[in-house]
Amino acid sequence: MKTSNKILIGLAVVVVITLFVINLVLKNEYQNWSRNRPTVEIGNF
C-alpha cells in the first residue's frame, strides 16, 4: 500500500478516536447544557 494512503487511513482512525475522546470529555457539559437550555413548547406562546 502507498505511504500516502497509509497516513490517510491512520488520520481517519485518529479522527474517530478523537471524536470519541471529545464526547467522553464533554459528557458532563452536555448534560448541564441539555438541562439548562431554554425550551419553547409549541402552542404555548
Binding site: K2, I7, L11, K27, Y30, W33
Partner: protein, 241 residues
C-alpha cells in the same frame, strides 16, 4: 527518493511561476480589487477568499491532467519536497497576502467612493483586522487547513479536481456526522436527540467568548494542515504519469 530542501530552488520555482503567469496574475488581482471595491464587507471577504482560494489550490497540480505537462512538471530539477513547499507558499502564503492587500485597497477605494457619491462621512470599517467576530489569525489558520485539503485533492484527482474534492469533502463530512451520531449515542445513551448534536458542538467550538475551545480548534486545524502537507508530499513522490 531525494528529500533535501534547497531554498534557492524554491525561489527559482517561484520566480518561474511569476514569470510565466505575470499577466494572468496581474489581471486576476485587479479583478479581485474591483470586486472588493464593490463588495467590501468582512463576510464577503471570507466568502470570496474561501471560494477563490479553493479553486486556486485545487488547480495547483493541473499539469497532471495532461500527460506531457505532467512529465514536464516531474522533470523540473527540484525535489518533491521543494515542489510541495513552493505549492504551499503559492496557494497559502502568497494567495492570503494578496487577498488581504486587494481587500484593503478595495475597501479603501469602495468606502471613499461611497462617501463621495453619497456625500457622507461614514468611517471605513476594518472589522477584519480589529477582530470583532474573527481575528485575522483565526481566518489565516482556517484558510491554511482548507487550502491543504484542496491541494491534496489536486494531487489525488487528475480530472476535475475542484468538483471531485468538494464532493469528497461532502461525503467525508456526512460519514463523520453519522459516526459522531453513533458515538454520541454510545456515550450519552439513547435519550440523546439527533437535533442536539449540532447546536451543542457549535456552541462549544464556535463560541467566540470561549477562548479555550477556540485555541483547541485552531490547534487541531494547524496540525491537520501539517499532516495533509506530509500526505501531499508522499502523494507527489509516488506520482506516475
Amino acid at each position: 527518493m531525494k528529500s533535501t530542501i534547497n531554498i534557492n530552488k524554491i525561489i527559482l520555482q517561484l520566480k518561474q511561476y511569476f514569470l510565466e503567469n505575470q499577466d494572468k496574475e496581474l489581471m486576476y488581482w485587479s479583478i479581485m480589487a474591483l470586486i472588493f471595491t464593490l463588495i467590501h464587507q468582512e463576510g464577503s471577504f471570507l466568502f470570496i477568499l474561501s471560494i477563490s482560494g479553493l479553486i486556486f489550490a485545487a488547480r495547483q497540480f493541473k499539469a497532471f491532467g495532461h500527460t506531457p505537462s505532467g512529465i514536464h512538471f516531474l522533470m523540473i530539477p527540484a525535489t518533491q519536497a521543494e515542489k510541495i513547499i513552493t505549492a504551499v507558499l503559492l496557494n497559502t502564503v502568497y494567495y492570503f497576502i494578496m487577498s488581504v492587500v486587494t481587500y484593503t485597497i478595495g475597501n479603501l477605494l469602495g468606502s471613499t467612493l461611497f462617501n463621495n457619491m453619497m456625500s457622507t462621512q461614514a468611517e471605513i470599517s476594518w472589522s477584519l483586522f480589529t477582530g470583532e467576530q474573527h481575528t485575522i489569525w483565526s481566518v489565516l489558520i482556517s484558510f491554511i487547513s482548507t487550502q491543504a485539503i484542496y491541494m491534496l485533492g489536486s494531487l489525488i484527482f487528475i480530472k476535475h479536481p475542484v468538483r471531485k474534492t468538494i464532493l469528497s469533502i461532502i461525503a467525508i463530512t456526512v460519514t463523520l456526522y453519522i459516526i459522531e451520531y453513533f458515538i454520541f449515542q454510545i456515550v450519552f445513551g439513547n435519550e440523546t436527540k439527533l437535533a442536539d448534536l449540532l447546536p451543542f458542538f457549535t456552541e462549544k467550538f464556535a463560541n467566540p467568548d470561549d477562548s479555550f475551545y477556540k485555541i483547541i480548534t485552531l490547534l487541531i486545524q494547524g496540525v491537520f494542515a501539517i499532516i495533509l502537507w506530509v500526505v501531499s508530499y508522499f502523494r507527489l513522490a509516488e506520482k506516475e504519469v
